[in-house]
Amino acid sequence: MKKSLYIAAKDLKYEFRTKQMLNSMLIFSLIVIVIFSISFVDVLSQTELVGKLAPGVLWVAFTFAGTLGLSRSFAGEMENGCLEGLKLSPIDRSSIYIGKTISNAVLMFIVELLTIPIFIVLFNYNISGIPGLALVIFLGTFGFVSVGTLLSALSASTRAREIMLPVLLLPLIIPVIIPAVMATGTILTDGGISSISSELRLLIVYDLIFFVVGQLVFEYTVMD
């Protein structure tokens, strides 16, 4: 675990210096929110209607911004053979996966943290139940990143990685996106965690399965 944290810290230091992923994710996410707010300008005064649109808009922004970021997740490792340098180290391959998952999740949380206030302003929205929303976003993002990191490693060595990643990722994250969107919708309308317990259970099970599977199969995705 210690080595995974060192890998995550290295990735975040690298990212904060280059801002390759963060800038593109943030800009993409904001563009999505702005475009939707312009498209729905006529219904923004109808709170009930906005409540139905909001979860979809948020998760479209998070999912596509996240996919964009994940496609660059292993780019730094491919330069100068750094991934091979890591593979030569006496660490378990799953440490690389855990480290990368942590750093990708942190970057997504930063983007989400910056996107939500702008969403609130543009959609003239009054969010209640912040802890519940944070929990749903955390679980949804973690599930998304668990699968995404694995597939990012898989597609990193292919020539068409920008196309390959979304083609592989989007069908696989449907089981996490559907409960996340539903739970976000419920939280935004009535704010109670108790009313989303079945979605939360689904998200937790999905996160656990993919995080464990990711650790088990990561070795094969980075094998020469």
Partner: protein
């Protein structure tokens, strides 16, 4: 001298292509072995199997009598690797790169700074320790990659075409640093196309072709560089256009 690497019946195939074919090889502790051969001869594959990056199709590799298949992490801890790729993060400073890789090799936090400074000094990069690796020249990057490879005091140093991209001066500088840094009993294995330089440095010369070791002699058994070049050409020329031989 005792064997540090013991390879028996090693074969590797990628699909239908046979990269290594039933190789037996013993390498003694402290030896400096140069491996030559045309592209596709299986040189890099054998090095990757030794470093446990890839698994063999058949056969075994023992390092210090430890089975590479059963305990790959132990083996990786004994090995340092230098390649034509630097394995360095361009956006991190020289010091940050070494601290990161030092931690990957289990060097404890309380003495990592001291070790990093000491090795940076030995490769003449201490004064530029806080500059980004990406801003370094090719020669400096290669010196930093020696530091990265030797930081954890490996028993075996694997080098895959380390001269690639280095000019004459940088290559000479690389050799000076390579021979003066690290313990004297480090076992070194180097893949290269540079016969002259390898002949100066090495104790033993191997020629591989088509996944087999076709020549294996101590330097003392070879009369001269020209004699070795002739041998190389006679082995390789039959099947190829003797690609990958260099006088530079």
């Amino acid at each position: 001298m005792d064997s540090i690497i013991s390879i028996t019946g090693l074969s590797k195939s990628f699909g239908r292509r046979q990269a290594l074919n039933n190789i037996d090889l013993e390498i003694k502790k402290g030896e400096f072995v140069a491996v030559f051969g045309p592209n596709g001869a299986g040189k890099t594959t054998i090095l990757k199997i030794m470093s446990t990056i890839i698994n063999p199709s058949r056969g075994s590799v023992l390092v210090n009598e430890i089975d590479a298949k059963k305990h790959p992490e132990k083996i990786r801890g004994m090995i340092g690797a230098i390649s034509h790729e630097t394995y360095l993060y361009d956006e991190l400073t020289a010091r940050e790169n070494l601290v990161f890789f030092g931690r990957m090799y289990g060097i404890e936090n309380n003495n990592i700074d001291e070790k990093v400074d000491s090795i940076l000094k030995s490769v003449n990069l201490l004064q530029r320790a806080d500059e980004r690796a990406g801003s370094f020249s090719r020669g400096m990057k290669q010196r930093l990659s020696i530091a990265r490879a030797l930081l954890h005091k490996p028993e075996i140093l694997l080098m895959d075409e380390p001269y690639t991209g280095l000019d004459q001066h940088a290559a000479a500088n690389f050799e000076r640093v390579l021979m003066s840094t690290g313990d004297s009993d480090v076992t070194r294995i180097m893949i290269t196309h540079n016969i002259e330089r390898a002949f100066e440095l090495c104790d033993r010369m191997l020629i591989m072709d088509k996944g087999e070791i076709r020549f294996d002699k101590l330097k003392t058994e070879i009369e001269s560089v020209d004699d070795f070049r002739e041998q190389y050409l006679s082995i390789v020329e039959k099947d190829t256009d003797a690609e990958g031989i260099s006088n530079v």
